[in-house]
Symmetry: C2
Subunit: 321 residues, 2 copies
Amino acid sequence: MKDNSHNRIVRFHRLGDASVLEIEQLPVTEPEEGELRIRVQAIGLNRAEIMFRTGTYLEQPELPSRLGYEAAGIVEALGAGVTEFAIGDRVSTIPAFSQGKYGVYGETAIVPASAGAHYPENLSATEGTAIWMQYLTAYGGLVNVGHLQQGAVLLVTAASSSVGVAAIQMGKMLGAVVIATTRSAKKRDFLLSTGADHVITTEEEGLVASVMKQTSGRGFDLAFDPIGGTMLATLGEAAAAGATIIEYGALATEPATYPLFAALAKSLTIRGYVLFEITTNPQILAEAKEFIYTGLKSKKLTPVIDRVFPFDEIASAHRHM
Amino acid sequence: MKDNSHNRIVRFHRLGDASVLEIEQLPVTEPEEGELRIRVQAIGLNRAEIMFRTGTYLEQPELPSRLGYEAAGIVEALGAGVTEFAIGDRVSTIPAFSQGKYGVYGETAIVPASAGAHYPENLSATEGTAIWMQYLTAYGGLVNVGHLQQGAVLLVTAASSSVGVAAIQMGKMLGAVVIATTRSAKKRDFLLSTGADHVITTEEEGLVASVMKQTSGRGFDLAFDPIGGTMLATLGEAAAAGATIIEYGALATEPATYPLFAALAKSLTIRGYVLFEITTNPQILAEAKEFIYTGLKSKKLTPVIDRVFPFDEIASAHRHM
């Protein structure tokens, strides 16, 4: 007989590598005011969860801790005051909450109703988990912060990540020329298939020289970079006059050098950016969702699923990332 | 008998300290199309000229080279096509030209007519040389780039420089709360007299703690910084969420560290800025001149003259800076 009062939830009791993730039988709890409970059909994995597990994320876990930002499933319980969803609705989650409090890795997940979103019917539940983090992050960077214009040159670094691919697709949707960078030639064909106009493999060619070659010596107008470190100085050199560099991560371990002379000579703007700017602003979030729906329906935005793992293999899935 | 065909011009034949400046008898030349010749009554000194003399400025001199951005005097000859000035007009110069080609240190100076400006009658010629570089630089930074709002907190670093003082006065004119920083207590009273609400002496107190104390823990909204180097990391810590840091110089000799984690946590914007952005845009320049005229007439902007030297003591004047 199935025990409906308990369900399987992923938690970790100490910081560390993927092996700290445990699947535990825990009571199913009821949503509080303004919350939803979702019967989870698929979860998506993000780098933010790996950083959270290892204690290097903006939010520090209180142990034992849940984790996870992205799930898709069916609404099965509504907290008081929730009117925008009904039992049975197909929703996926927008990463606009504390991972430690609401982490969605489990058979059920409770999230704030403001973090639930209907997703287009032409997408599977698995695809439904591969929308919000990446496209909202790209939208906030390219549209809200970067004001990317038609015909402008967008440089996407570390482009084979889920956000990188989202930025390539969204850059093309906005009419930009998109240059993608990746370390080795391994991902070149994949990046071209996502719509990038040019791919620079940084282990094989100089980023600055390649950008200058592709832009007739002008440089890029907008860079979307999760690396930091010495990359920032390189980006300063490859920038066009008046360019903006958006830093949205800290993948590099060395300190980031500010390219002061390039910034002065070319009036560069460097902007630190995180997704929460978008998800905490209801108006911008609504505009972003509308834009993403439109892109998903027209298939200008098409979620890319790298690989699907069974729930029981969550640790292997983390290792795969 | 006075020889009207020649006049005294300051030039340097090699890069170096103030002693490389020489006063030479050179022919008086005629303005070409679109240029003015001014009988110089006073010149103003800027750090940009010291950097030019030592070869560390954005523009490199072709030796022997003239130098100098700011002069005030009387128009005495007009090139073809110049209609906005008449012989006898009282003008001062806006630093919107090559120092090497047009340098104004001399008894006469030829400048592009677009770099000439009438200045308010309530100012002396000496004061007329102490307007454009500093107030235009401050205007471009605070208004055009920084969008400084009434009630916002403006932090002005290295505040006792001419641009620093201009930024304090303009910050107050715009209704901001102005915090000025200076190394030692020596300049504290002077900075308070220019209108600063608070003065932080960085040799005696921590910048971050002092800014936080003055802003109830919120931090500054806009910083206007010509230092760079390790100051940039300090500014990252002292910034409020959503703040902008304008870098407009490179006084520090050590590399500037980009405060990546503060930038991500607080969505910081760091913007490299130079005066030429303003002086090369006719519409912005016209708006800036109008704003500065208004401020000078109302005495909300009052040029501060540190010390006046005779023309023959140009090298001493440079040493004094």
